[in-house]
């Protein structure tokens, strides 16, 4: 209740329209020269002070990438990307890596403050219930262009046995864990963008929750693209050992620019027996202007492996940003009775294009998956749900339920649904439902008769439409997400 009403206040207080996160931060940067070749990869590896094996891994990925082609099956359209025209490394200039927050460039701290990201170590009172304060603490890893600038609450987490650090640090400090898991969920040559990421990834988060540990707070990474002509290639690896529990949040913004910027991340999750990983994203990269100029190309590979019995991976995403979104957070359900979930809201407006969905690959007996996707298309945008549910021969008694709803606002946008359902086990059950509709005139009239403006009425009805997904988000994120929905749809009615 509190979250929801607070949201409405905030929605109403958002008076200025457009993208609020589009400012640029003037920071002295250290760039790699433009272009991609083995030397650049060696340079990235050297800057990160990586061991030899990591460099080899990158070079192999690069060799694979050279033989691959950009995927063309998605319903997205863009001019050719000049891969040789990007900086593959950009980092704020610094002396040594910041050991504590006091060493972080004050300009950077100011920027994160402006974005509302709590880098200061203090409890964040988001809820009203003081008993839950402990749980509403959030540890943050902030990634600025190519590097992690700060990770908070490290000490508290270390006490619980949790490792939460930039992946570049993990490569140095926990090589055995990284070696064991990196690239095992998303192989280096999985697809064009994953291969590219494997070659040039610069930073991202690493999380390891040991056996039986319930992570004492929400973990979160905040991604910010700031520099011009740079790609962001972060890599996240989360491992939940037997019986471990973790909730991880991810947020992203970028300055407002006329050029398109590439973001090609890879996220790998591994859940062992009885482990649970909840991964929530509020994606708000700069979407481009009203005429479709500029904006981020968000080409992301996210996959989780439920390796253990009764393990569970739950993806929740609210996608409002990016000029193009190409993203299918997936679950490979290997363990017996393992559970995969995908809850998604994707909003496109103006000239945005989104092709997003999930894959649920059922391998293990009794594995279950749930897919709830809500797509909202406004303006001249195109919004596609693309999803695969595959029941392999061993997936006895496996279950899937999919609900896929699209809402069209205005008559210049497109809403598309492309599910693939494949079953090779007779005891497996799949149910899929999809609908497409618009906001009914009588619903709008009803709200307006009660005094709501048309825009508020649309916001309210859209939030209602997305409720089944929004309720899956941690409360702080739900508030943020609801605001975003309203802001993203500004100017789409009337």
């Amino acid at each position: 209740m509190a979250a929801v009403t607070e949201t409405l206040d905030t929605v109403q207080s958002v008076t200025q329209s457009g993208y609020k996160w589009g400012f640029e931060t003037a920071i002295e940067m250290d760039f790699a020269p433009k272009g991609l070749n083995e030397d650049i990869i060696r340079l990235i590896s050297a800057r990160k002070e990586e061991p030899e094996w990591m460099l080899d891994w990158r070079l192999k990925s690069y060799a694979a990438w050279l033989t691959m082609e950009e995927p063309r099956w998605a319903r997205v359209d863009h001019p050719p990307i000049g891969y040789q025209d990007l900086h593959y490394y950009a980092a704020p200039k610094k002396k040594a890596g910041p050991k504590s927050l006091d060493e972080v460039d004050p300009e950077l701290l100011k920027m994160y403050e402006k974005l509302g990201i709590p880098l200061k170590e203090r409890a964040i009172l988001a809820g009203v219930d003081p008993d839950t304060v402990e749980n509403t603490q959030i540890a943050v890893d902030a990634v600025f262009d190519s590097v992690s600038v700060a990770t908070t609450f490290q000490a508290t987490l270390r006490k619980a046995g949790v490792i939460f650090c930039p992946i570049s640090e993990a490569v140095r400090e926990h090589p055995e864990l990284v070696k064991q898991y990196l690239g095992t969920v998303v192989p280096t040559a999985d697809n064009f963008f994953a291969a590219l990421n494997s070659a040039v990834f610069t930073d991202g988060s690493f999380v390891y929750i040991p056996k039986g540990v319930r992570c004492p707070m929400e973990l979160s990474t905040y991604f910010r693209i700031n520099a011009r002509n740079t790609g962001q290639f972060e890599r996240t690896l989360i491992i939940a050992a037997e019986g471990a529990h973790v909730s991880y949040l991810e947020g992203c913004t970028a300055p407002q620019r006329d050029e398109n910027q590439l973001h090609a991340a890879v996220v790998e999750l591994v859940a062992l027996d009885d482990a649970t990983i909840k991964y929530s994203t509020v994606q708000n990269w700069y979407p481009g202007d009203a005429n479709g100029k500029g904006g981020i190309y968000n080409f992301v590979t996210k996959r989780g492996a439920c390796r253990g019995a009764r393990s569970k991976i739950s993806w929740t995403q609210v996608e409002t940003g990016s000029a193009i979104t190409w993203k299918y957070p997936s679950c490979v359900l290997l363990g017996e009775d393992s559970v995969g979930e995908f809850y998604s809201v994707a909003v496109t407006n103006n000239h945005q294009q989104a092709d997003t969905g999930t894959k649920m690959i059922h391998v293990g007996k009794g594995s279950r998956s749930t897919i709830v996707s809500k797509g909202i298309s406004a303006g001249h945008s195109n919004n596609t749900y693309r999803g695969l549910v595959r029941m392999l021969p061993g997936a006895a008694n496996a279950r899937n339920h999919t609900q896929c709803d699209s809402l069209l606002i205005g008559d210049q946008s497109g809403a598309h649904t492309v599910p693939y359902i494949e079953s090779r086990n007779l005891t497996a059950k799949v149910e899929h439902e999809a609908t497409t509709s618009k906001i009914a005139d009588d619903q709008l009239f009803y709200c307006r008769q009660r005094g709501l403006s048309e825009e508020d009425a649309v916001g309210l009805i859209v939030n209602g439409f997305c409720k089944d997904v929004l309720k899956e988000l941690p409360m702080e994120f739900a508030v943020e997400a609801q605001k975003l929905l309203a802001v993203s749809l500004e100017g789409s009615v009337g």
Binding site: T5, C447, R450, G451, G464, F465
Partner: protein, 249 residues
């Protein structure tokens, strides 16, 4: 309060209202009766500004303002409330949320401070209690999964919270049991005062027993064919509309 002159309106090319003259002075409750399809709901929709209805002539002044020129939400802010004959479902939209958003929109329009969540809940709970409605009414999604009677009661709850100056109740009593009927009547009576008027569309004398209207109008074929005191409703209850309409034709 409300002054309608020569109002004509159509849906598409089909004329529905064919010249309505109706004045409801401040502080009065008027009943509108009439056979199915005569245009009663249409009158309510036209006054509240539903889009598929085109006003083709006449005027409607509400406290000296031309309401026909206003957007639906402006009419609501001016104090007009329509209890829908068939209330609309809003999946996923929480009832309390909806009401608070509406109430604050109207307060904003009047330059009044908005209510925060706590203030609002206090007010809403008081009203649900007064109307003998279960508290969980506020938690549920607007009209979703409500029974017919619950939907009607929800309309009355909304009216009680939004405190309009003019309430149009479109068959809010239809399909209600005797207790619920009393709730509707209490809802209206509670608002009664020198600054409140109501247009009550109904088929039943029973509601009028509780409300005691100042005037009763009979609408047939898009025109008001007869106006009288409360006794007219009783007469209609006995003799039906047929005679009246034939007489008017």
């Amino acid at each position: 309060m409300l002054d309608i002159r020569g109002l004509t309106a159509s849906i598409g090319d089909k004329p529905i209202l064919k010249g309505i003259d109706l004045t409801v002075p401040a502080g009065e409750v008027h009943a509108i009766m009439g056979p199915n399809g005569s245009g009663k709901s249409t009158l309510g929709y036209v006054l509240s500004g539903r889009e598929d209805y085109t006003v083709t002539g006449g005027s409607a002044m509400f406290n000296d303002a031309d309401i026909l020129a206003m957007a639906p939400e402006q009419r609501a802010a001016a104090g007009l409330f329509l209890a829908f004959q068939a209330p609309i479902e809003l999946p996923g939209v929480n009832n309390a949320n909806f009401l608070r958003t509406a109430l604050n929109a109207i307060r904003r329009a009047h330059g009044e401070p908005e209510l925060d969540a706590v203030q609002f809940l206090k007010l809403a709970r008081a009203e649900t209690k007064r109307l003998a409605m279960p508290d969980d009414m506020l938690k549920r999604n607007v009209n979703v999964g409500f029974s017919g009677g619950e939907k009607k009661r929800n309309e009355v709850l909304q009216m009680a919270i939004l405190r309009p100056k003019l309430a149009i109740l479109d068959e809010t009593d239809s399909g209600l049991d005797i207790d619920a009927l009393k709730i509707v009547a209490d809802g209206v009576n509670a608002l009664r005062g020198p600054d409140f008027s109501a247009l009550v569309i109904t088929h039943h004398q029973r509601l009028l027993d509780h409300l005691v209207p100042n005037r009763v109008h009979v609408l047939a074929h898009g025109r008001i064919v007869r106006t009288g005191g409360p006794e007219l409703a009783k007469e209609l209850e006995k003799s039906g509309y047929a005679g009246l309409i034939a007489e008017a034709a």
